[in-house]
Subunit: 404 residues, 4 copies
């Protein structure tokens, strides 16, 4: 049984790194560090094998995955030379399966960077039809049992009035009327309406619009999002419960992020940054009871290339009104943190699809900054949800096998 | 129903801060930040009120609690002037209830600092009898329903061969033979043999010796320890599960602690430091599967007074063999972090005693660096144990009330 | 010979702390740490004694210096209780010498905070006349030989076209025409035209306008500015030469400042922030040869009160194209860093005035982020200028004495 | 005119990186960042060209420079692939010029790591004769005008009584008697007695022994040391003057260094660490007037490979007795920081030799943690000494040329 992974933003850093990594694992030249599904509890599930995943995708920038991987190696040292050399041919084959995508309503910065987006004269219906045709062609050409679509494209501006897309009907009307639906939602619509599971790894609207969620429910297709939780926000979701449980009242949490890749460049645009800041800030509000000063800065610093440094300063009030503080610096490769989660999510959503579990996947909350439909932001509690999900499925299998 | 709290090391920073804080809360001049028992879930239990706690204790250094509180205020700003002024009379009253303790087998540094320890010519039997007499006198004089003994004394050297104290009989024999049982175990023995609950907030042997644990079981007296988890180790227990669950393989975790109070001075003595380093380092080994470089340094830096700075540097390996890192700096008032937990533990252990729950108290694991009888070091999982304990008791009460 | 120090912004944090400190030193309850003039080389000059300085000033906020000092103590612990108690009466006496100032053209945030600024219906001529009258009255009432005016008021917006004020005539015309000259320049004009030395400790235009500088030259009155160099920028001027001299090419220098006092609140206003960012950023450009990414952020974080944290992240390129990095965190009391320099500058400028040295004072460059008329930003080289100035004057004195 | 550079410890990280870098510069594949002599003021001197330097050396570990360079690339990414590929043949040629050295009196850790040290049965006279023979053979075989010996070997234990080597005669007697003179001093003796300039880049005794210094004076051979100032100590010498000049009284300066290369491994041995700690700590004592808490820790953390992280925590007392703090984290490639300075020193000492300037070279103080014969530890002041030296020589040249 083969699973296809269709990456929206296939020549971006995250997608490239995910594909390099999957193929490097398949070729035995790297380990599986960073992949949640390769250790307990998830390794007990009967997931599609990493080395059997077939990749394809959309992009709006020209070039090739091999070139992109080379550039990542040169600028960041990730992937390393050995991994890159081992997967060069595999990447070349993937390049043949990357189609031209759309940058519709992605903001002027993305549109400027897009050098081969689909014809902007097309209607939204034409665009979504073409997207769906690309999905179908991939499934057929590669003889896939299942295709999971994962959005790893750049940040888009937040739609001006998301509430207008509250129903499937409203979505359909918007498509008919060429309303400014963001590109991410076009990809989500095309996937879910055709029965392809969808994961939104970005802060974009995509499947977060209520109308798209309704569509997924109706079609019984699994989907989840949004905004992969990879670094500073991961730390916040691990640490904030400590303050809460110890009754240490946070007075201010300042976060300053600097990063140097294209993601950072797009986020220089205040419009595109808004959604990202929103999901980064929301995690703390979801854990800490009392009001506090909560600010997140994201700045583009080209010298960091694909690396990302987050500096956080937390002031909290303890016993006898004593103010104390925590400061941390998190330094990671943006893509190396995100890429394995893309593989994890593709595998877990494919599994859910095979099990017939459509709609949102709350047990995947730990993967996201703003998990759709889940109020729980505490990292450990989110992991417990995943552990319980696995236990439920492995127990069921044990029962079934026991009964046989 | 009144509860007495007997503090071993009653004129130390932690004890003094705990007493100042309890009385400041009682006098309405400060809030309850830092106290776990003053927020959900524990606030649902029927615990002794903070303002009803009666304090007494042992110490081996002369002086008064008021002087100690003044010194803390002058050097650290904690407690603040308003709190200190509000509790001055209360502290003076407590001073009358502080007896001369023992520094037997506490190492040369502590013995040098001890200016009024009990006569070192006494036999261990004479010492433990005197300690018990002090406990009893406190209970009687203050008309207490219950006395909880909490050890907040200085770090002692690790006993040379702890396994020789594996049974109650071995402990009794050691007492008869004047074996070098550390002072902490003398206090524990005196308490548990007379039915007084005991909490070990230090890294000392105390009630961790199997013979003492057997004694507590036999007498059905609640007890717990050891080594309060207040800062760097608290952070470790919150963060290490994040690395584990995300399959980010920790390669090294370097911790460098600097502190300037008497605790730091005692820890300059390598013998006394050993036990502390042991419990600080053990937390990570209990959470992370694979071997890694794990070092903890504790250095005495007088300029920090009662404040403590921990700097940790964590290197971890993620996807595609990428090494990344986290560094944090935690800066807190040692006593302001520890003191509220002392009050929490006194209340929770008193509660267990009233419920007839003798022996170790695993639901209190989150309070300790090296929780006796508990292998679980992940902070959130430890908090879950506390939450479940509370739920069990409040449900029981609800049932009982429902049935009435 | 008595020297008066007239502080513009006399009830602000910096002014209050300077006055508390000067009087605490006079009363023997604190040392002179932080004062450059109290150690070599400056202590060899015949400067006015700290305890002989007489304080007065302008402000646009009501209240009293005593109240302000109390508030600083309560919120920050600086000044300490002992210092505050020792100077309370002295501060009360100073309060009688504080007059209502002007907030003209200081931006809407300052105007909103100003609750007793001079009548905004007044013409600029009326305002400057009143200011000068206040200076004169102070000199006469206190029987002062000399009055030094030091501007420690809030940040103002940068004037829209500073080049229009290039001559004394242009300044005079602007005053006649009620052009939007900022308040800082009104104070500078009033001082210099009447022969009072002037120091601009703020990033404001003040005496930086060429027309005002011409005025000081013409009247032969010493003056200097601008923007006291107290923390992050001080560090930059100490560290950047190290990178330059070692041929370590800086690629990016990110600075993130958080502070919680009124200064921070005013800087939330983008207009007021512009000038500050300009002088903070300029230091590096003046030291490092090659272009690099240079960003400074200033954010208002109320929990920090009068304390200030700067986090800087520096990436530099060394041998074999190796990128390396330096990160630092500087945490200080904003006012405790600035206040002693205010006293230093008042003493040194009074000295220059006595020596008949009018115009800019380049030997004071080390005190300022943007030293007027000085291109040298390297801290050590700036200190060398001060050392040479002192040597010149003490040698001259020695010669004179030797000749007598 | 060709200059030979003889590296003691030629297969170590620093030597290897220096040779890779020099040849990469010669081949035009990298820039000259990190080299002090490639920017003003030194670039005005008529120094031997980098690409003309001829390398040879001693080592006690087997292997080849190429292998060592490969290992450095694999573990640290420095040197990069392009540089390494460009110099592979050059390195192979150098390998032919590396002779077996001595590990005599280098401590047990170094002796354990040494797998091909000269026969330990040899007398010190035999060893020094052999060393000198190697120097001579190099000079002759490569037809060199001049050979500079630079010691970049591992840290040795401090000699038990260095004062016994106070004269040339005492050194000669020690050699005759097989006294435990450390290896570094044998290399220095062999060089200076034969007229070869010598640089000690390590904390070892080498040419710091008064008898060796007397020898250099007598022979009029330039030499300098000791212990290259590359990272944390460089920072200290840049920052400490700032505290001093601003009258900010340092109360404690804690430095914690972690590093993962062989240097770190050797320093795990307390004996070898002593000398290093001494020179690291001494810099601050040479700049700050008043006593303060001064501690340096060096810990071996294999995960860092050849990278080095220093974390420093500085507490200082300012105005009104306010304690404030600075913390910094310096992260660099140990070898990339040190290697360019080795080239700088070789060039500058060769220049001095050509100019006939024997004995210590105080103008090179900025390169060393413990500059021989120089009390000045302030970085900027040390750079001024270098600038003045260059000015003296370029002015002389200009005069000479002008006179022609």
């Amino acid at each position: 049984m083969t699973t296809g992974v269709w990456l929206v933003g296939a020549r971006g850093n995250v997608a490239t790194t995910a594909m390099v990594g999957a193929r490097a694992i398949a070729n035995g030249v790297t380990g599986t560090e960073g992949m949640v599904t390769e250790r307990p509890p998830c390794d007990a599930l009967d997931l599609p094998f990493v080395d059997s995943l077939v990749f394809g995708g959309h992009d709006v920038q020209s070039g090739s995955v091999v070139e992109q991987a080379e550039a990542l190696h040169e600028r960041n040292g990730v992937p390393g030379r050995a991994a890159l050399d081992a997967v060069r041919d595999d990447l070349a084959a993937i390049d043949d399966r990357i189609e031209v995508g759309t940058a519709r309503n992605c903001g002027t910065t993305v549109e400027r960077l897009a050098d081969e987006a689909a014809d902007e004269a097309d209607s939204l219906r034409e665009i979504t039809n073409q997207i769906r045709t690309d999905y179908d062609a991939f499934a057929e050409a590669e003889d896939l049992d299942r295709v999971v679509v994962v959005n790893v494209a750049s940040s888009e501006p937040v739609p001006h009035d998301p509430t207008q897309y509250d129903t499937v009907d409203a979505i359909e009307a918007a498509l008919d009327d060429d309303d400014p639906l963001p590109a991410s939602s076009l990809y989500a619509y095309a996937a879910l309406s055709a029965g392809y599971p969808f994961v939104n790894f970005t802060p974009n609207a995509a499947n977060a619009l209520p109308g798209i969620r309704e569509l997924a429910e109706r079609e019984n297709v699994p989907h989840m999002g949004r905004d992969g939780k990879t670094g500073e926000t991961l730390m916040k979701s691990a640490l904030a419960p400590m303050f809460a449980d110890r009754n240490l009242r946070v007075e201010s949490w300042e976060g300053h992020n600097i990063l140097g890749n294209g993601d950072g460049e797009v986020l220089e645009d205040e419009e595109n940054k808004a959604g990202k800041l929103d999901s980064k800030g929301g995690v703390l509000d979801g854990i800490l009871d009392e009001p506090f000063h909560n600010r997140v800065r994201i700045d583009y610093t080209p010298a960091l290339a694909d690396w990302k440094t987050a500096w956080d300063d937390v002031r909290f009030r303890g016993f006898l009104d004593t103010q104390m503080k925590l400061q941390f610096t998190w330094e990671g490769s943006d893509s190396a943190l995100a890429a394995p989660l893309v593989l994890d999510l593709a595998r877990l959503v494919a599994y859910a699809d095979r099990e017939g579990e459509g709609g949102l996947q709350p047990h995947l909350a730990s993967f996201f900054k703003a998990p759709l439909g889940v109020d729980e932001h505490r990292l450990a509690a989110q992991f417990d949800m995943l552990t319980e999900y696995v236990a439920r499925h492995t127990d069921a299998r044990a029962d079934a096998e026991g009964g046989a």
